[in-house]
Point group: C2
Chain length 160, copies 2
Amino acid sequence: VRPLNAQEQAAWRAFARAILVVPRILDNELLESHGLDTSMYAVLMNLSEAPERSLRMGELANAVALSVSGLTRVVERLGRQGLVERIKCETDARGQLAHLTDAGFARLEAAYPDHLDGVRRCVMDHLDTLDLTAFAEAVGKIGLGEIPARARRGAIGGLV
Amino acid sequence: VRPLNAQEQAAWRAFARAILVVPRILDNELLESHGLDTSMYAVLMNLSEAPERSLRMGELANAVALSVSGLTRVVERLGRQGLVERIKCETDARGQLAHLTDAGFARLEAAYPDHLDGVRRCVMDHLDTLDLTAFAEAVGKIGLGEIPARARRGAIGGLV
DNA sequence: AAAGATTGAGTTGTCAATCTTA
DNA sequence: TAAGATTGACAACTCAATCTTT
């Protein structure tokens, strides 16, 4: 396998570092200013956009890229804060619906502007020299296909 | 704060997904084919490039973006596999040197080509339509400054 | 038996407290 | 008393096993 040339090296190093740093910054901001980690935020977000503000556990887990059991735990945490409640599914007694409460919606509304701001400051503002359409098209190809489960844990950029 | 327009949305969504997916794929590959998670790989990597293949715990922790105690645990794991050994620092008896063993170097040599291949397949191959220099320059600005500590845990892309 | 979800056990990380040497 | 590193307690995930309905 041919090693990366200088130009490729530079691109990969920059990307790897971004991969490492961006989630940490956004996570920290959300946590400090609104007491939400990114999993919680993603759950609230997805529920807010769903019909009835409700989603089956399995669907929701898929939407936020967590294992089903992982989601159970996130919803439990959100439940303790009164942001989400569990409702038995009418049509299938095996199922549970996660439902966004008014308090949960309010919390999301409060967090959204700050998060948006973070995304702009931390990411988008730095990309203003690029052709965003080309960027989106190319980078979009990276995420194609299934989202693999978290290895078991994982972090760090992954240097070469 | 002004919401993202359609073009910005597309760019951010693509980027957020990449941030989520890339570490998982690379981590999984490394783990399955060589029994190394990304933290371990980063430690071996950094030691292999250091003089004497040794680094103080504090420096190494900084290099791989882990807390010092987190690094202690990674080195412990690597030590159990005989890939890294701890050596008392000659010049400062408070310190410890992490030293890459021959077995550790061999393991890294075995893993490197596969990892490189993963980086190409998973990332670089998709960026061939872009101007890599401009990409590196823009994305490089994202990671500037200190690397924040992991929030406490965290994951997920961070949707908007 | 299989699908939906929760629970139990284990892993990897964090921060705060501790131990040792400077 | 401060700096370098480890240890203890805890958090958030994972997979495997379980419980409940279909």
